[in-house]
Symmetry: C2
Subunit: 296 residues, 2 copies
């Protein structure tokens, strides 16, 4: 049985066809231009495939509430050509197959849970730190939705006393994304993040901000595992620094086996940057199963 | 059909018997002394009642994972006589009826969802601000559990530039609880919170800290409603101040119908301080239904 997967990112679209075991049979990508330019190419790709369902993980904010009139629409995005675009509807209309729909980061979280290291866990936070910062959250055995979906990249954090950078989030200035995403690193230090590898002060400070966010996620969500992905997390030296800071910030307040082995608790993504597309594949499968169950 | 409810708080134990519609038929309370002194009285009370199940909402941290060996135990608490005490086990052994078990704040959250204003919602945050600060969280249609349960009262926040109070949490100093619970207000201003009612600077600052926490809960959990209870929230002038600050902190980033009507989004508890005991009643009912379903 074959499923389609579409990781609809702000800069590129990744399309794939795979099976229910997470084997990707083919994969292709396109730059994200306007809906008029990009969507027809995506539709033409998937309509030629023998897929039973499609899973879409989209850049946000998106409406993920199936009861809502604007379900599957991109909402208030700075990418103006996509604002209020009915992404789900475009595929639904043309393909007429079950379509699972969620955010890109929720999909990555699901990818890790289904095919990666977080299998069998009930509650997982997936954080991507790249051009932006986004959180995918799985709790009580499901991806988290509510009024909307998690926007955990924009939480408030405290500026380090020796950091004079004001932050670069257009909404919040010094929120987590404004202080710690790739562009913030570049603005603060005047070089691309990858070129700063040898500068230990850069990664100490970066770990301080990421650890504040993780500490709050731990205290609010009590996840069983935290997975960190995205371009910035290619700097592997961040992991021990983050774990050390989280330990310091929790300061003995939470006593669980997970917290006593932070090496296994705060971990890198394990699917070689395929967690997103694999999560989309699983979204397709889950939606297919749900609709089949409903029909029977 | 009658159910028992026990709100096991750090300072007092509230016992009640009620029906499945949330009618409390009788209620009684006792001070919380040691387990040896207090538990026999509780057991003797409930063993004389014709109840089909009992619901316990306990002060934490507690083990709420039914798969765990220490399920239903009080964990690492400053109330040393209760540390590692098997609260669930004591009732299970003596009463031999289904027992639902959760934290006191999760129970209050469930009380509001079942019998209060948050009925039919899928995701709700209940925050109590009293002697301590605790968060009960309901998401994806269930109370939130994970590695442990939410400990959202201890999240990190940013000190106001004009506030020189260091905070009084024994673990974190200036976490939310350390800066904004009743005892923090008293320490900072030198008077009991209730006596400061006329001092607008007190409530401006209090709202600033509470709003930081709510902003982060909103960004992480995307709840459909936030309910505030506990002694400090008897200061009703806090509500407009908190809403104003939350609006400022989100700064237009989240555009939903909920956020555009904060008066209905951030609200006082509606059950006259009975949300906790009513939630325990519902815990009993849910556990009863679950066990009956399992037997059939
Ligand atoms: N090896 C690296 N080390 C540090 N930062 C990196 C590295 N590779 C990419 N980045 C940063 O990550 C960001 C891109 O993130 P990425 O996750 O690859 O894409 P996106 O977030 O756009 O999907 C850029 O800001 C870039 O500077
Ligand atoms: N009317 C009030 N206004 C402000 N603070 C109050 C008021 N009533 C109680 N408090 C504060 O709330 C705290 C007690 O909280 P409460 O929720 O009643 O109990 P607990 O948290 O112990 O269960 C105390 O610190 C007290 O100063
Ligand atoms: Zn922001
Ligand atoms: Zn604390």
């Amino acid at each position: 049985m074959l499923f389609g997967a579409l990781e609809a990112g702000g800069t590129k679209m990744v399309m794939a066809v795979g099976d229910e075991k997470g084997n990707i049979l083919e994969q292709k990508s396109l730059p994200t231009l306007t809906p008029e330019e990009t969507v027809p190419e995506l539709l033409s790709y998937f309509s030629k495939k023998e897929i039973c369902a499609l899973g879409i993980g989209a850049f946000g904010p998106v409406d993920v509430n199936p009861q809502s009139k604007s379900f599957g629409h991109i909402l208030d995005t700075p990418k103006l050509a996509w604002k209020n675009y009915n992404l789900y509807g475009a595929f639904q209309e043309k393909l007429g197959i079950p379509i699972g729909f969620d955010t890109d980061v929720n999909s990555s979280c699901l990818g890790e849970i289904t095919f990666g290291q977080a299998g069998n866990l009930n509650s997982v936070v997936y954080l991507t730190i790249g051009t932006g910062i986004g959180a995918g959250i799985y709790v009580n055995g499901k991806l988290l939705h509510g009024m909307l979906h998690p926007e955990g990249g924009h939480i408030m954090i405290t500026r380090h006393p020796e950091d004079s950078f004001e932050g670069c989030c257009p909404y919040h200035g010094g929120c987590l994304e404004g202080m710690a995403a790739g562009p913030a690193i570049e603005k603060r230090w005047g070089k691309r993040a990858a070129e700063l590898e040898q500068e230990s002060a850069v990664w100490e400070l970066e770990a301080y901000y990421i650890a504040q966010a993780l500490t709050n996620y731990i205290l609010i969500l009590s996840p069983e595992k935290i997975i960190l992905g995205g371009g910035v997390m290619h700097q592997k030296q961040l992991f021990p620094l983050i774990r050390e800071q989280v330990k310091k910030m929790l300061n003995g307040y939470i006593n669980t086996k997970e917290i006593s082995s932070l090496d296994q608790y705060i971990v890198p993504a394990s699917l070689k940057d395929n967690q997103g597309i694999l999560g989309c594949l699983q979204l397709a499968k889950l939606e297919y199963e749900q609709q089949v169950k409903y029909v029977q």
